[in-house]
């Protein structure tokens, strides 16, 4: 079934078709949320919320538009909204971040059995430092780094998702990278 047909079926309430429609985007949305929010529980809740929003608002989706762009736009906006509300509540989400990432990191390490142990430890430490640095970035910078560097999206895709023009995306991206580099300055020896 084509994407358009899946959208039509989903609009009619066919949940199997909706699941097929979002199948390719679920992990990406979860990872965007995970890296932007910094912990697995919030990422789980927010990515569920994203797909519920997508489903509820399917009738507002223009079929000639890109479904993936629409989904990722909802995902980034929902994450930013969550971060804004979290700040309002003065909720400290960063403290859990490293604990939450430990599992994911550990499973990643297990696959790397042939790697030298010292290098593996260093790599793990580097990842922890990176997560912490991303977590410390301004929300806008975080969004840029996650979409471009972690999700590998093109500038054009990011422009469509964020609604910014290409020039703005490029300049914001540069600022985000410089901010990240500055945040990692004191861990220079790891890189």
């Amino acid at each position: 079934m084509t994407e358009k047909e899946l959208v039509r079926q989903s609009k009619a309430g066919n949940l199997d078709c909706f699941e097929e429609l979002i199948c390719a985007h679920q992990q990406k949305v979860y990872n965007i949320a995970l890296r932007m929010l910094g912990n697995e529980q919030d990422a789980f809740d927010v990515s569920q919320e994203v797909f519920i929003k997508v489903y509820k608002n399917l009738n507002g989706f223009q079929e000639n538009a890109s479904f993936s762009t629409w989904v990722y736009r909802i995902a980034t906006n929902t994450c930013l909204d969550f971060l804004r509300k979290a700040k309002e509540r003065k909720k400290d989400i960063s403290m859990d971040a490293q604990i939450a990432f430990d599992d994911g990191e550990a499973s990643f390490q297990l696959e790397d059995t042939s790697a030298d142990i010292e290098e593996a430890i260093l790599r793990k430490e580097r990842m922890q430092v990176l997560y912490r640095a991303i977590d410390q970035l301004r929300d806008e910078h975080k969004k840029m780094i996650v979409l471009r560097e972690l999700q590998g999206m093109s500038y054009q895709e990011i422009a469509e998702i964020t609604g910014m023009n290409l020039g703005t995306v490029k300049s914001k991206m540069n600022r985000a990278r410089l901010a990240l580099k500055n945040a990692l300055e004191k861990h220079r020896e790891l890189f």
């Binding site: 519920i52 489903y55 507002g60 990643f108 929300d139 500038y155 890189f191």
Partner: protein, 305 residues
């Protein structure tokens, strides 16, 4: 070193391949003769490489089942768009909130301080609809203390933050250093917010000079008269349906600051910029009416998608 900093700012673009040809030539020439920048290039390159090595986390096991369960509760997608999910009485509620804010500002500006406690009592009556659908705002209004120290809580931030800038708001073109709100924050109190007499001579600092929770500050209000309490700037109320993109544009406006949750203010001189900017967004601007102009320099705008 300053020159190196300029080149170092180009390094991410250089690695990414988005640098302009002219900058690339200048940077590569500089790199050839600057070991410090070569190290910087190496460091940045390694950081960007490490970012790409971050593994993609798998979906949690119960993700599909949990989502399916939630979707089954929803049933069929609504025939209406997201905009129709606004609370039924959202406009009425917003109008009440805006009106309440306006009344607070009005009383804050023109009533003698000793009359304010009784005025605030009237503000405690919040419509049941508002209490139900926007409990936070309703709570804010209900919780407004009868003490004159708190009546001007919203105005206080308006006054104080511009004072952090080096220029008064009536000299709009010169304001450039105002702190931008990263998130809506409730105004805090503290003696540091007490304006100096010289600062209060400016129309910009007059607005909302009340409040602050210090006895000396209250005295200051009383002695400086009504003109000193003028609310200055544009206050706008942002609904939860306003997109991040719009918020970002608003935050970027000069002098834009958070006053309270969902409430932002802006120097009046940037009102036209605000209107111009909002024309490009999908949001209509609801000036609460001419009556909302509580004085010559304050206006309340609601952003409703």
């Amino acid at each position: 070193m300053h020159e190196c900093e300029k080149f170092q700012n180009l390094i991410p673009e250089y690695i990414d391949g988005t640098i302009s040809k002219a900058d690339e030539v200048r940077l590569t020439e500089h790199l050839e003769e600057c070991p410090h920048c070569q190290k910087e290039l190496e460091f940045t390159r390694n950081v960007m490489k490490s970012l790409k090595e971050i593994p993609s986390a798998p979906l949690p096991e119960q993700f599909h089942a949990e989502l399916r369960r939630k979707l089954e509760i929803i049933g069929t997608p609504s025939k209406k768009t997201l905009l129709h999910y606004l609370p039924k009485y959202s406009f009425a509620v917003s109008a009440v909130a805006a009106f309440a804010l306006m009344v607070m500002a009005y009383h804050g500006n023109w009533k003698p301080a000793e009359q304010q406690p009784s005025d605030v009592e009237s503000l405690k009556t919040v419509s049941p609809v508002m209490q139900e659908t926007q409990p936070d705002i309703a709570k804010d209004i209900v919780n407004t203390s009868p003490s004159s120290d708190h009546i001007f809580a919203a105005n206080e931030t308006q006054t104080v933050k511009p004072q952090q800038t080096s220029a008064p708001s009536n000299n709009s073109g010169k304001i450039s250093q105002t702190t931008k709100p990263k998130s809506p924050v409730a105004p805090s109190s503290g003696n540091q917010k007490v304006a100096s007499p010289s600062q209060n001579q400016t129309p910009s600092s007059g607005g909302g000079s009340g409040g602050g929770g210090s006895a000396s500050h209250v005295t200051h209000q009383e002695t400086n008269g009504a003109t000193q309490r003028k609310t200055q700037g544009v206050i706008f109320v942002v609904h939860s349906t306003v997109s991040q993109k719009t918020l970002d544009l608003l935050y970027d406006l000069p002098t834009c600051q958070a006053v309270d949750a969902n409430y932002y203010q802006l120097s009046r001189s940037y009102q036209n910029k605000l209107i111009e900017l909002l024309k490009e967004c999908e949001y209509s601007i609801h000036f609460a009416s001419e009556a909302s102009r509580v004085d010559d320099s304050a206006i309340i705008i609601e952003l409703i998608s």
